[in-house]
Symmetry: C2
Subunit: 313 residues, 2 copies
């Protein structure tokens, strides 16, 4: 009810997604080793705002002490005891398999320890597809007119063409679940022409052809595009580029982790973006929160995860 008076001029990051999460089925998030205030705050905010139920997997005494600091009294979330961060990660995966958790969120532990049981070949949460990462970057309207989805900026380091195809399909399927029915996808490179000396441009051309042949479905895909041609129709037209994506992309597929990671961090630090990230392609949405992540991004990540949870079960 508090988001009914939004206008396009206001910057209300993920207001629609939070509203969808509130309307949707009640989801449970296993927070792995929530042994710091930030991890707990994000999960508790999500419970208050849109009813995602936290399951806190860690040492009960330590967690209770933190909950006291946050003045959470009678309505404490359930705690699933775990003796170590590594054990907490394994337990959380088991909770997903048991149907008790719909979403996994990293708390105060190393990403490697968090991911190891998720990636385990038999007992993990892998499906028959590549896992990949998307940052959903909500930016002020003065920066760009809609949310920009950047992939893969955190999980696959230097994907080959086959991996890029999977990363792109994961991202398209993902934004469909968020209500973006026919996303426009810009395959980014340094230039907009195919240059044999720049493998990113060759892969971009191949991905565009794949989309035309039905090997990638559900979006309007074009590349290679340089960043200026991608975001500015005027720039594209000035260069004589006829692209159904130019000026209006929803998704940007980047050639390497460095490109995407630096892009999204520049959006956050220089443009005021809120950029929740999510790992796709697993049995449950996986949230790789980082220590420096603001509460708004953590909460938004949980809202996104709540909306898409259940799609891969």
């Amino acid at each position: 009810l508090s988001v009914t008076h939004t206008s396009t001029a206001e910057f209300v990051p993920f207001g629609d997604t939070i509203a969808s999460a509130r309307r949707g089925p009640r989801r449970t998030v296993a927070v792995v080793w929530p042994h710091d205030l930030e991890s707990l705050r994000g999960a508790l905010d999500a419970r208050t705002q849109f009813g995602v139920e936290p399951l806190l997997v860690g040492q009960p005494a330590a967690i209770l002490a933190l909950l006291d600091q946050l003045r959470v009294g009678e309505d404490r979330p359930r705690i699933v005891p775990a003796a170590s961060d590594v054990e907490a990660a394994s337990s959380a995966v088991a909770l997903v398999h048991a149907g008790e958790a719909d979403i996994l969120m990293k708390g105060h532990l190393h990403s490697d320890d968090f991911l190891r049981p998720i990636l385990h070949k038999e007992r993990g949460l892998r499906l028959n597809r590549l896992m990949s990462h998307v940052f959903a970057c909500a930016v002020p309207p003065s920066t760009y007119h809609k949310t920009l989805y950047i992939t893969d900026a955190a999980f696959n380091v230097a994907p080959d063409l086959a991996a890029k195809r999977s990363i792109l399909q994961n991202a398209i399927d993902f934004v469909h679940l968020l209500g973006c029915e026919r996303p426009k996808v810009a395959i980014l490179a340094a230039v907009e022409s195919v240059n044999p000396a720049m493998p990113a441009t060759v892969d971009a051309a191949a991905l565009t052809a794949m989309a035309r042949r039905g090997q990638i479905t559900g979006g309007v895909v074009d590349g290679p595009l340089a960043f200026d041609n991608a975001v500015s129709l005027r720039c594209a037209q000035g260069k004589g580029i006829d692209s159904p994506v130019a000026g209006d992309p929803d998704i940007m597929l980047v050639p390497t982790i460095e490109v995407g990671n630096i892009m999204y961090k520049q959006l956050v630090h220089f443009c005021g973006a809120i950029a929740p990230g999510i790992v796709l392609g697993a049995r449950a949405p996986v949230l790789l929160t980082s220590r420096s992540e603001p509460a708004a991004a953590r909460t938004a990540a949980l809202a996104i995860a709540a909306v898409i949870a259940g799609a891969n079960r």
Copy 2:
């Protein structure tokens, strides 16, 4: 005189550089094939603002018609006749060798045609060092507190460690000429720890060690740094990173052309940056202007080139 009342709160891109160009020796720029209004405007603005003298290398009749359109009357720049764009590029290089031109600027022709005679092994403008590119990105103070130099975002596609060393040294020597005496350099990667699976982090560590051993001189170099640790001291401290560069880099060395190109275009299109580019390491500064480049960036590029011209003769 018109730049005396600048304060740090105003955004006057390259005001100091333009003032230096005005005070310095009179320079001549050979504009190669200036067969469009934009190419001429940049050069004419530079003449008016800080006295760089254009030499227009192209077809006299076509150039005169354009000058008429711009209402340039008696005080026309000198025209050096050339029958084709390819011939114009060669003639401009010869003008540098003859001491008649101090700066080369691309007009309305393909970059490859412009660069071929510059890169020629015997008759070109190569020195005994790698040529590389820097974008000088002047951003509003609300974005970042000083000019950010990004290298290499336009010339070297996927430099190896030896090339990165040269690119970095070129950039440090360059900013010295602009009055930045001991630049801080962030070697960017996706993460701030050395990860054997991410070659950009390994190269960053090697470059940092090179600087410590005197193999790179004149700057304070640190990496690998992720973008957030590089630009935000708070982020760096939050991760326990002790870096003399964090929060205050002048130069950012990027691992590939895609990273730098997308970074600088994001600064231009999303942050309002003015980002003149310049090719370093040749006998004369070389300006690779692009069609979509605004006049302010072309003029600033000429001011920078005027200030550094003569350093490599």
